[in-house]
Structure formats: structure tokens, C-alpha cells
Assembly symmetry: C2
């Protein structure tokens, strides 16, 4: 799979895909003899994981550390801790999101009551 196809598939620009690889957010992608990236299942899996985590708000730094450990095949305990830490953050975020949505619901109800009385046009 070419970088262009992967870009299409996940909605990430080719520039960003190369950037991710450069900074170690995903492990080096296998190349064809001519040096062109040839994404396999595994690389796609990494891209998917990063896309998912990043869009959920996980910072780049912990992900880079995690990827480095997986590549070095070490730090099992540390890897688990990184995942646990990030999960904690996401759980807190989800909780905060819920209460903010409640606040919005409350305000929106207020407008629903106000508006029908005015608009007629």
C-alpha cells in the first residue's frame, strides 16, 4: 500500500504520515527496493492506533515513548503504565464532557422556552 492510499484510507495527509514516522510516532514503514514506502497490515495498524489516540486527545510524547519501547521490545511494565495513564486521562475527560453536555442541555432548554413566543415570520 502506498502512502497515498494510506492517506486516503485514514484521512491523514501524506505529509503528516511522513511527519509521524520521522518523529517516531509510528515505527519505520517497510520500503520497496526503490525506497518507496510500502505500508503493510502492521504499519496500517500503527497509523490507525495513532489516529485514534491523537483524535481522542492523547499527547504525542507518551505515544512516542510507547512506540519506542515496542520497537526495542522492552519495558513491558512501563508500556502498560503508559496505557493506564492515558486511559485515566481519557476517563476524566469523558466525565468532564458529560457534565458540560448537561450544562449545555440546561441552557438549550432555556432557549427552547424563550423562542417559540417571539418567532412567527
Amino acid at each position: 500500500m502506498t502512502i497515498g492510499e494510506v492517506s486516503e484510507k485514514y484521512g491523514i495527509t501524506t505529509d503528516t504520515l511522513r511527519y509521524y514516522e520521522r518523529i517516531g510516532l509510528i515505527p519505520p514503514v517497510p520500503r520497496k527496493k526503490n525506497g518507496i514506502r510500502d505500508y503493510d497490515e502492521e504499519s496500517c495498524g500503527w497509523v490507525y492506533l495513532v489516529k485514534c489516540m491523537r483524535s481522542a486527545g492523547v499527547q504525542i510524547e507518551p505515544l512516542i515513548e510507547y512506540v519506542a519501547l515496542v520497537q526495542a521490545n522492552t519495558g513491558l511494565e512501563r508500556r502498560k503504565n503508559i496505557l493506564l495513564e492515558q486511559r485515566e486521562k481519557l476517563l476524566a475527560q469523558a466525565e468532564h464532557l458529560r457534565s458540560t453536555i448537561d450544562l449545555l442541555n440546561y441552557k438549550i432548554e432555556h432557549y427552547k422556552e424563550m423562542i417559540p413566543k417571539k418567532s412567527r415570520k
Copy 2:
């Protein structure tokens, strides 16, 4: 209430509070004769709302528009729509967060299985 007290109360620096006011994220705060800000209930309410929305990920721009409309006492319909739009975004984000947390749970389970076999130290 001085800016310092408000800063303390909501965990927002005085710099940020002034910045918020300057860009219209909260309406102008009342002043004492000497020009020093004197936050009342209403201003504190705005600070709280902004803190809540911002930390949930709501963009500054729509909030500025909303605040401007409230101040001009117009655009009831538009205000409601802004709130509806932001709620939609937060709901989508909450859903995405949930699935990402699931993915993390899955990966963490994997590490829980791997680790006990090795570590004995």
C-alpha cells in the same frame, strides 16, 4: 471580587482572565473608580461557563460569538444554534472517547496477561 481572587477560585491565571476579557470571551467586567476590575456574580458566572466549555474542548470562536450576541441582546435563534452545534460536537467527542477507551482497555488486558509470567524480581 478582585481578579486575584477570581484567579484563585477558578484556577485561571490573572493573565488569562484579562486575555479572555480582551478578546470578548467574557463581557467587560465592572470596574471600581480607580479602574480595577471588581468581579460580581454575573462575571464569575461567565468565567465559570468559559472555564467549563474550554476545558471540554469548545473552541474560543463560537463562544466569542455567543457572548457578543448575549451582550447585544439579539440573535436568540442563533445563540440556541451555537449551543446545539457545540453540544453535537461534544457528543461526538464523547462517543469517540468511549471507543478509544475500549481500545485501551483491550490493550491493557493484553499486558495484564503478559506481565505476571515474567516479573518476579
